[in-house]
Amino acid sequence: MNGGSLGWRQRFKPSRFLIGEAPAAGPIQLDQRRVFILPTRQGLLFVLLIVLVLLIAFVYNNNLAYMLGFLLASVFFVTILHSFKALSGLVVRAGQHQPVFAGDQALFNFVLHNPGDQARPAIDVSLREPRTIRLRPGETQTVSLAVPAEKRGWLACDTLTLSSCYPLGLFRAWSPLRFDSRVLVYPQPAKLELPFPETDSGPGGQGQSKREGDEFYGLKSYQSGDPIRQIHWKAYAKGRGLHSKQYAGASSLELWLDYETTPGADAEARLGQLCRWLVDAEQAGRRYGLLLPGVRLEPDRGAAHNQACLSALALFGLES
């Protein structure tokens, strides 16, 4: 699960403590290499308390007060181990992420698994805003953390920080984790509702009006991304699995969305407009193709096609 041993230089690289080690693809189990511990302000105050109790013991030469001071000091020490225990052993992996439009919140999903028989009553999970969760022994829990998606393109997952001050709040154990996961951010759809750029290639007319005329064409096995309203529920109820209904009627209403002819002040505005049309066209049940400089997607429809087009927009002009 974890890489090989670290060299000395790597081991003491400051970034390890805050940003974490190189991103991992698979699940990470927290161990002594990943968990760091420092006293909190409350912990430092506790040290002051210990000193005060020992001072009382010293002035009054009182052995039980000494004992209390030593006990508190030992509690302080033992709490370090408990702090480590609060995090160590947890298994974290990145879950599936859905693409989002720029301006929305990207949700990063993480699956936390608590092996063993120890409850973990307070674990803070944070990308930006911390969230406190509680894991029972053996429990697996998915945490979705929102990060604002500002720009189109790939949004890489920030360092995920797991931390806990459990049990006494004297120490904070934290573990910065980086995962290979990223969320695809589509361009922000333009606000303006421009009509579709109808071309001569297809028979004219308003797409919406033809929607009624769509005839049932056949069934294909369900693929993720197919609209829910096209699922053939009767077949599912009979236990034949999930199938999507296919319609043939819209095939004649092909729509070409061309970057060159799209209005817009700059490239981003054009992409935003294209994005808007893609969403609208899919909703209208039309067949549409996408033309970007160097990219050509033949007319089609369905969630998969829609995603392919949106992805092309998202990554247009960006590397990889």
Partner: protein, 653 residues
């Protein structure tokens, strides 16, 4: 992260543990201060239910003024144990009404630990230590509830207990090895109003009979060899040589060391564990020959300690019952013949009748003791009041008194007869604790006797009380009966197992536990610690540091290993059960291959054992779900166990 918000449970936890941690102070600090705290606590308790009841800012201000006024009216100083404790308790009460967020809660919990430490300044018994330990667990649980709001109460208490138990070995190591230094003298904080009883440097008519109704422990003695017989158990304290006719006082101007006497006879070696005292006398068995550092023998062979008398202390002393103090210096001679006024006619007549002046001093003293014995003198705890001329009144009119009356009158008459004499205050007797093997001497054993200086013999002890009531010296005081009845009571005649009923045995057992607690815990410091460490072979700073580090490692490494070991064992319970299943199949000749998955193996096994196919399928599916899938239910492991238990195959050869 709910900063600022306080849940009810967290507050109730906090208030409950605060109540418990301050409760014992109800007996220690002035009642207006404790009452103030109690009102604040109850107020806060109510406010947990009705948050509107919390005081407004100006009300809080008035309450603070009230608290300060109470403090000023009740305290005599600013520093010191009582003043400090009062201050902390009042501040704690005020802070309670002003808890606004998590940080305030933490501050209150930390203050509570200081209160816990202050409890030990008043009492250091085993019970108090256990009580404070329990409340500390509660305080830690309060911290846990504050850190994790969703933790169950039981889990919080369990974790707090576990942390304390795991911390105890480490704390013990620190306790034993951490070097103790005595605080410098300027740090000794004055606390005048400690209610300690004991001998004082003035012997007044009622001072010893007051003590005789107290079963408070004064000191305990453990002898290395024989225990001296009751007749020799005179524990020497104050030497009263000056008198104004009513009071007898210690001549503190002569704080010089005495010339040691010549000793003869067998030595008694013993360890004396003194309880906190008002004065710094150490009550050695007459007559101390050698004693450790920290003790001085001053004028009149009084043993005085350098330590604070309010601390428990342990001393190793060697005493010998036979001694000759040698000649008397002119100054001593004068001092021990001092009389406030001329002798009365009645006194002179009595002395003459007893042969004073004609007979030898020894003979005169014998006659005087016989006089006490033969005439109708009574030994009583509650003699009639003798405000005027007490010696005469006692000798010729009331004729009933306590040991101090007899000793004072005896010395007074000797001085008139020109025999140097003085009154000695201390303790006589002591109860032997059979369980612990030590003598317990209580305030009720307080006693006064006399010493006369005789040519060639030096100072010789005479106990006029023994002439009147020999049982007092032979059998000692029956503390329980004396306190219960308020009258003189002596120990049982046999003083043996016949009278040692279960109650007494229980008390002795407890006393024995307490003795060891005092000796090894409360009193483990300074010389005591050095001596113990030397038996371990630690006789300097560098071995001490090595030992400290070594034992810390020895304690913490196993703890760390135990706490941090991988939870693999418990997580793989399903695997253990599955292995049992594989074992059963192996008996039937179907052996799981190295690295073979459960699914493949199940398929193979089903083919080879078609009659068991259903069972194999069931068990394998359950195992796979338990091991690899998150949706395993609580009862699945038990079901797997039951299935595997029930699974049986015919063995194939």
């Amino acid at each position: 992260m709910m900063v600022g918000a306080l849940d009810r449970r967290g507050l109730s936890f906090l208030l409950g543990s605060l109540l418990l941690i301050t409760l014992p102070h109800g007996w220690h600090i002035p009642w207006p201060l404790f009452g103030f705290f109690a009102v604040m606590l109850v107020w806060r308790f109510m406010a947990v239910r009705y948050p509107g009841w919390l005081p407004k800012r100006w009300q809080l201000f008035l309450l603070t003024l009230l608290g300060v006024a109470l403090l000023l009216s009740q305290q005599r100083g600013v520093f010191g144990r009582d003043a400090g404790t009062g201050l902390i308790v009042v501040a704690l009460g005020l802070k309670l009404l002003e808890i606004r967020g998590r940080r305030d809660v933490l501050l209150v919990v930390y203050l509570a630990f200081i209160v816990a430490a202050s409890q030990f300044l008043y009492e250091q018994s085993i019970l108090m230590a256990g009580y404070i330990l329990l409340v500390c667990i509660l305080l830690l649980a309060t911290l846990i509830v504050q850190t994790a709001e969703r933790v169950e109460t039981r889990a919080a208490l369990k974790t707090a207990t576990a942390i304390v138990l795991q911390a105890l070995p480490l704390a013990l190591v620190l306790f034993v090895l951490f070097p103790r230094l005595e605080a410098p003298r300027w740090m000794w904080l004055a606390d005048d109003n400690k209610a300690l009883s004991g001998l004082s440097d003035t012997l007044e008519p009622g001072s010893i009979s007051d003590l005789s109704l107290s079963d408070e422990l004064v000191f305990r003695v453990r002898f290395e060899g024989d225990v001296p017989p009751p007749l020799l158990r005179y524990w020497r304290g104050a030497v009263y040589s000056r008198t104004d006719g009513v009071r007898w006082t210690v001549d503190s101007s002569r704080d010089t060391s005495a010339r040691p006497p010549e000793f003869s006879g067998d030595a008694y070696r013993y360890t004396l564990l003194m309880e906190p005292q008002k004065q710094n006398w150490v009550f050695g068995l007459e007559m101390p020959e050698s004693f450790g550092a920290g003790l001085r023998s001053i004028h009149g062979f009084q043993l005085r300690s350098d330590k604070r008398p309010a601390d428990r202390a342990e001393y190793k002393i060697v005493s010998r019952p036979f001694y000759n103090t040698g000649p008397l210096s002119p100054a001593d001679y004068r001092e021990n013949l001092q009389l406030p006024l001329a002798a009365s006619d009645r006194q002179l007549a009595l002395i003459k009748a007893l042969g004073g002046g004609n007979a030898s001093p020894e003979q005169f003293i014998q006659n005087l003791l016989n006089h006490f014995r033969r005439e109708a003198f009574f030994y009583t705890l509650a003699p009639p009041l003798m405000p005027e001329n007490p010696i005469d009144t006692f000798l010729f009119e009331t004729r009933s008194g306590f040991c101090s009356h007899y000793a004072a009158a005896f010395v007074y008459l000797l001085r008139i007869a020109k025999i140097p004499a003085r009154v000695i205050g201390g303790y006589q007797g002591g109860e032997f604790n059979k369980v612990g093997g030590f003598l317990e001497v209580r305030q009720a054993d307080a006693h006064a006797w006399a010493e006369a200086w005789l040519e060639n013999k030096g100072w010789v002890r005479f106990d006029p009380t023994a002439a009147v009531a020999p049982e007092r010296v032979e059998r000692g005081v029956n503390v329980d009966l004396q306190i219960a009845s308020g009258a003189v009571n002596f120990g049982p005649l046999t003083g043996d197992s016949a009278a040692l009923n279960w109650f007494k045995r229980g008390r002795q057992l407890w006393q024995s536990v307490d003795y060891n607690w005092q000796r090894w815990v409360i009193n483990y410091s300074g010389a005591n610690q050095m001596q113990f460490l030397r038996t371990l072979g630690i006789d300097g700073i560098s071995p001490l540091v090595k030992w400290l580090l070594g034992s810390l490692l020895a304690v913490t490494l196993p703890l760390a290993w135990w706490l941090l070991k991988k939870p693999a064992k418990t997580a793989d319970k399903p695997l253990l059960v599955y292995r049992r299943f594989c074992g059963k199949l192996a008996d039937a000749g179907v052996v799981i291959g190295q690295g073979e998955g459960a699914k493949d193996f199940a398929g193979r096994a089903q083919k080879q054992l078609p009659e068991l196919a259903g069972r194999i399928e069931q068990i394998s599916a359950l195992f796979i779900r338990l091991r690899y899938q998150a949706d395993a239910k609580a009862g699945d492991l038990q079901r797997l166990k039951n299935l595997v238990d029930a699974f049986s195959v015919k063995k194939r050869r």
